[in-house]
């Protein structure tokens, strides 16, 4: 433990130094309306968590994110694997999936509002929409890139189609699927915030808009920093899950 911290000491010092420089710069040359000093951001965090606002809004954002992203991951992997295993299906769906993936899906916000209104369903749907297609494509690519030798071996042992999918295709594609889910997570976070800012204001998106409109710039940084932390934490969780799911991959890619 002690050696761990001793090794990290130069890094920690460096980052503390950056924060200190930022603080000094804000108190001397940078106008506070332009960029708040770290101390003001910390104060804003303290204030919003004391009033409970941060926790209420974070809970709302997490609720939309988990439902929208969760649905996108499950449906995206199912559709992607189906497209990867069926040439007919992928030939038919490829143009649509690629077009939807290439398009900035946030352009569909007005359409979604017309369809589903401004409420919870619209936000969940937008989150799903923004992240779904990238996960379809990753799962599909993973399945289509399975080395021939695996499929050949499966066939040599007279595996039927379902056995091949369950015992060979899925485990072989897991690294692709998980990296797709991680890309999808990044997109889903964008989706949630966009949804919260452009439909009925709520969650961290509400905090961004509200404090931005009232020029409380140090409060604007509360949802920004929270989103950054959220993204890092969720990503680490996925990384951990990937390691747990692919113990055979240890020492190969890592």
């Amino acid at each position: 433990m002690l050696t761990y911290w001793r090794k990290r000491l130069p890094d920690v010092t460096l980052h503390l130094g950056v924060l200190l420089l930022w603080e000094i710069a804000c108190r001397t040359v940078i106008p506070p309306m332009f960029l708040p000093p770290p101390s003001a951001i910390v104060a804003a965090f303290a204030e919003t968590s004391r009033t409970g606002e941060l926790w209420t809004q974070l809970r709302q954002t997490l609720s939309v994110l988990s439902v929208g992203f969760g649905l996108a991951a499950v449906t995206g992997v199912i559709v992607g694997v189906a497209m990867g295993t069926s040439k007919t299906l992928s030939r038919f769906l490829d143009p649509y999936v690629n077009a939807m993936n290439a398009m900035p899906t946030v352009a569909l916000v007005p359409v979604v509002i017309i369809w589903l209104g401004l409420g919870y369903e619209a936000k969940v749907f937008l989150t799903w929409l923004v992240s779904f297609f990238s996960m379809v494509i990753s799962a599909q690519t993973g399945v289509q890139n399975i080395p021939f030798s695996y499929l050949d071996t499966a066939r040599a042992f007279a595996s039927n189609r379902w056995a091949i999918i369950r015992m060979v295709v899925l485990p072989a594609a897991i690294p692709f699927i998980v990296s797709g889910i991680r890309i999808g997570l990044g997109r889903a976070l964008v989706g949630v915030v966009v949804a919260e800012m452009f439909t009925a204001l709520s969650g961290l998106g509400y905090m961004l808009t509200n404090y931005g409109n009232t020029f409380k710039i140090n409060f604007v940084f509360v949802p920004i920093v929270t989103l950054a932390i959220l993204s890092i934490v969720l990503n680490s969780c996925l990384q951990w899950a990937e390691k747990k799911l692919t113990p055979w991959n240890r020492g190969r890619n890592h």
């Binding site: 050949d152 039927n160 072989a172 055979w248 020492g251």
Partner: protein, 258 residues
């Protein structure tokens, strides 16, 4: 009694760039493998011996001709035959034990029956203590032991081996050869064995089919009259062995562009 195999007038050509059938890889191959017989297919690279082995398992389809086993036409892999690959082809996400049990799982054997067979196979190929290892954690020789155990676990009538020792170093190869000879002596199978190692072919075989190239065809059938059980170091010093080797060499060197 295990089943034999009957190969009747197999031809194989792959379509060329224009889509027309190209030069034949295999031309008019016919032979019978008697039940329990060990047959080696030896020949220069590109003579189609691996393709023929794959056709015999139903992994590839011939352009014309048929293969029968127990009077039934072979057109897809089945569990009464098993295949051993040159490059092992283990599944990296399965442990040693789960790789060995793959065929049993596909066949639908229940868990406890599978575990019994896998345990027997693990000790048969000498992998005790490595059951929970993943393929990348064990050596090439051990990986091929897994590949062989996976094939034998199905207790097949017919064993098809595609240069099973080809990717191994000399010492590992020799040890594995002896172990496999022992195993096959205890549980006889009709075995078809692709190799381009003459010593290996003589050591194992009842009969050696020597292949020529362009097009792939059988140039001669060499009977190996050596008594069984054979001891590698003893037979290698024998007169018959030297004569057989000499004969194989003259056939093969004629087929290779030297």
């Amino acid at each position: 009694m295990v089943a034999g195999l009957s190969v009747k007038r197999i031809c194989k050509a792959f379509p060329d760039a224009t889509g027309a059938m190209g030069f034949p890889v295999l031309k008019d191959i016919s032979f019978d493998a008697k039940p329990g017989e060990f047959i080696s297919l030896i020949g220069p690279s590109g003579c189609g011996k691996t393709t023929l082995l794959r056709i015999m398992h139903g992994l590839d389809t011939p352009t014309s001709g048929t293969i029968f086993s127990r009077d039934k036409k072979i057109n897809a892999p089945a569990h009464d035959r098993a295949f051993v690959f040159q490059h092992f082809n283990l599944f990296p996400w399965r442990t040693v034990a789960d790789n060995i049990g793959y065929g049993l799982e596909v066949r639908g054997d229940d868990r406890s029956a599978r575990q019994d067979v896998v345990r027997k196979m693990v000790s048969l190929v000498g992998l005790n203590g490595f059951e929970k290892h993943y393929p990348h954690e064990i050596s090439g020789g051990m990986q091929q032991r897994v590949g062989i155990a996976r094939a034998l676990s199905l207790n097949p009538d017919i064993l098809l081996m595609d240069e099973p020792f080809g990717a191994l170093d000399a010492i590992t190869r020799e040890r594995l050869q002896r172990d496999i000879a022992d195993i096959l002596a205890r549980t006889p199978k009709t075995t078809l064995f692709v190799t381009h190692n003459m010593d290996e072919a003589i050591y194992f075989s009842d009969r050696i089919l020597v292949f020529g190239t362009k097009p792939g065809r059988i140039v001669e059938e060499v009977i190996v009259p050596l008594q069984r059980p054979r001891q590698a170091d003893v037979i290698r010093g024998s007169r018959e062995f030297a004569d057989l080797r000499e004969h194989l060499w003259s056939l093969l060197s004629r087929e290779m562009d030297l």
